[in-house]
């Protein structure tokens, strides 16, 4: 008599150590092979977009901190860029450079986190993660000098940044820029050629360029498919048109390429920081914007290349002190749309790694 088998449906999450936040996947398995995935999210929904409608433009900055809480600087940045478009405000040069410095530091911190947790998902329990956190800690120390906080910064303001960097920030940033390449070398020595990592990530979770474009996937996930799309290049904001950097791309769009693109992007970020250090002019850091900012009626869309992809804020103003409507285009959420296609046909263990390699942040997915 043949053995009778049937698919089994398993809930992974919402509170599972491997799901990077409160995220639930309802997965149908045939043995160990994934037949179907149904992502369930919304557990972290806080109604940020609605809350923004009853807060003044400056107060909303504190909400944007809490969208992608491992990259709050870039969330701040996208939001204030949209606000500035509304009121047609010119940010002083030094303010823009400080913003670029903050955003690039944030990119390094976020990619370090993504790399560390990818390895954690692969089963390299905590060691590479702790190496990555060691450097992330240095970035957070720099943030503490800039704005007094380490995670939820509220550093950027409409029209600039809230205050100039203290004197001791510049030597500390120089030291960081000098040290960081060595640490990235160290990760590469530890990981990039590691046979276990290669065996587990090469050719796993392959995403094609066409499919990625169809699903509006952005950020490192899109670039890993070989398509060089980086808002800092194609639609330069702040001072990115004056800075030299490359857009690293992958070839196959597999998990390894996503890891590799992030490592290469960190190197480019350090390069940008180096140039910023040389170019940053003196002068004011904040344009004259009243505390109760009241832009004229209209609408604006501000977008930045956040560590996870294109992060956009769409704001509608009715001339009042609070946005009439605030819509967030969050890259984590949109990148998740390819999750099912990436996972079907792979095994349970690959599923966790592939999910980790997309690098989503649930705060941003659910908003």
């Amino acid at each position: 008599m043949p053995l009778r088998t049937e698919p089994v449906t398993v809930n992974i999450g919402p509170q599972h150590p491997s799901t990077h936040g409160v995220f639930r996947m309802r997965v149908t398995f045939d043995g160990e092979v994934v037949l179907d995935v149904e992502p369930v999210f919304g557990y972290l929904h806080r109604g940020s977009e609605k809350l923004a409608e009853e807060r003044t433009y400056t107060q909303v900055i504190t909400l944007t901190d809490r969208l992608d809480y491992v990259a709050s600087m870039t969330s701040n940045q996208a939001y204030v860029l949209a606000c500035e478009q509304l009121g047609d405000i010119q940010t002083p040069e030094r303010g823009r450079y400080l913003r670029v410095i903050a955003a690039e530091l944030q990119r390094v911190a976020s990619h370090l986190m993504a790399t560390g947790f990818l390895l954690n998902d692969l089963g390299a329990f905590a060691t590479p993660l702790m190496y990555c956190f060691r450097e992330r800690e240095k970035v957070l120390d720099l943030f503490e000098m800039l704005c007094g906080a380490r995670i939820t910064m509220t550093y950027l303001r409409v029209g600039g940044v809230f205050q100039d960097a203290p004197e001791e920030f510049w030597p500390a940033l120089k030291r960081f820029v000098a040290e960081m390449p060595h640490y990235i070398d160290e990760y590469e020595q530890l990981l990039s050629e590691n046979e276990i990592l290669l065996a587990r990530t090469r050719g796993v979770g392959v995403l094609g360029t066409g499919e990625a474009l169809n699903c509006s996937v952005t950020g490192p996930v899109l670039r890993s498919t070989g398509f060089a799309w980086d808002l800092r290049k194609v639609d330069p904001y702040e001072v990115y048109d004056r800075l030299e950097f490359e857009v690293p791309v992958g070839e196959h769009g597999d998990n390894y390429d996503r890891y590799k693109v992030r490592i290469l992007e960190m190197r480019q970020s350090v390069r940008i920081l180096e140039q910023c250090l040389a170019q940053v002019p003196s002068g004011p850091v904040r344009a004259e914007v009243p505390q109760l900012y009241r832009p004229p009626p209209g609408e604006a869309y501000g977008r930045v290349e956040s560590p996870k992809g294109e992060l956009g804020f769409y704001l509608v103003s009715d001339g009042g002190i609070a946005p009439y409507r605030c819509k967030v285009r969050s890259p984590s959420f949109i990148n998740l749309t390819v999750l099912r296609d990436l996972l079907v046909g792979w095994k349970l263990a690959d599923m966790i790694v592939t999910f980790g390699s997309i690098d989503v942040n649930m705060g941003e997915v659910d908003r």
Binding site: R55, T58, Q59, T62, L63, D65, T127, Y131, R134, E137, D141, E144, M145, L146, C147, G148, A149, T152, T154, F162, Q163, P166, E168, E186, Q189, L190, L191, E193, N194, E195, I196, L197, L198, Q291
Partner: protein, 194 residues
């Protein structure tokens, strides 16, 4: 050759094995904090506060509660309101510092401590009495006048209210400048000279 990458990685592990540790044993040892650190309590100077409630209006969460009564005889001439209630609910505060940014009289500062854990939510409310009695070690966040003076809440003694503001020290004398009295806090004199 298979295994070479792993051996190479092991070298990194060995290197880190002999490195000086990056962490400290927390309760006994502490990492230095930057003076701008936005700590988990507030420094509030009753002498400086006029009861204008700008801070309460500017707080995104509306967690500052202020009750005042007319304190001075001549309010249009700048006499301040007396503050009866000044509650900050730290249990809901996110330490964004916007209230400090809003205060026009430099009466409210972020604190510098970070060990405010309590067993009950009710104990997290900072009342006006607690604020009055608390040690005044303000963070330099959004207070460039403290920063340019090189004040550090972790190293320097608590800051009296006369020295916390952005105005010159003469502003607080009973008689206005030019009326004879030249004695002032030593720090302030240096500030004015420089």
């Amino acid at each position: 050759m298979y295994g070479l990458g792993i051996l190479n990685g092991m070298l990194v592990t060995m290197k880190n094995l002999v490195r000086r540790p990056f962490t400290v044993r927390y309760p006994e040892e502490r990492l230095p904090q930057h003076p701008r650190f936005r700590g988990q309590e507030f420094v509030w100077y009753v002498e400086r506060c006029t009861g204008c409630a700008s801070c309460a209006k500017y707080c995104p969460l509306g967690i500052i509660r202020i009750v005042t009564h007319p304190g001075g005889a001549d309010l249009p001439e700048g006499d301040s309101y007396a503050v009866d209630v000044f509650d900050i609910d730290l249990g809901r505060c996110m330490f964004c510092g916007l209230c400090v940014e809003a205060c026009p009289y430099d009466a409210l500062f972020m604190g510098s401590g970070f060990e405010e854990a309590q067993y009950e939510r009710g104990k997290l409310v900072l009342t006006v009495d607690r604020l009055k009695e608390a040690e005044k070690r303000p963070s330099t966040w959004f207070r460039p006048q403290l920063e340019s003076r090189g004040y550090s809440p972790f190293r320097d003694p608590p800051l009296p209210w006369e020295l916390a503001g952005r105005e010159g020290w003469r502003y607080h004398l009973p008689q206005r400048p030019g009326s004879g009295s030249e004695a002032g806090p030593p720090d302030a004199r240096r500030e004015e000279a420089g």
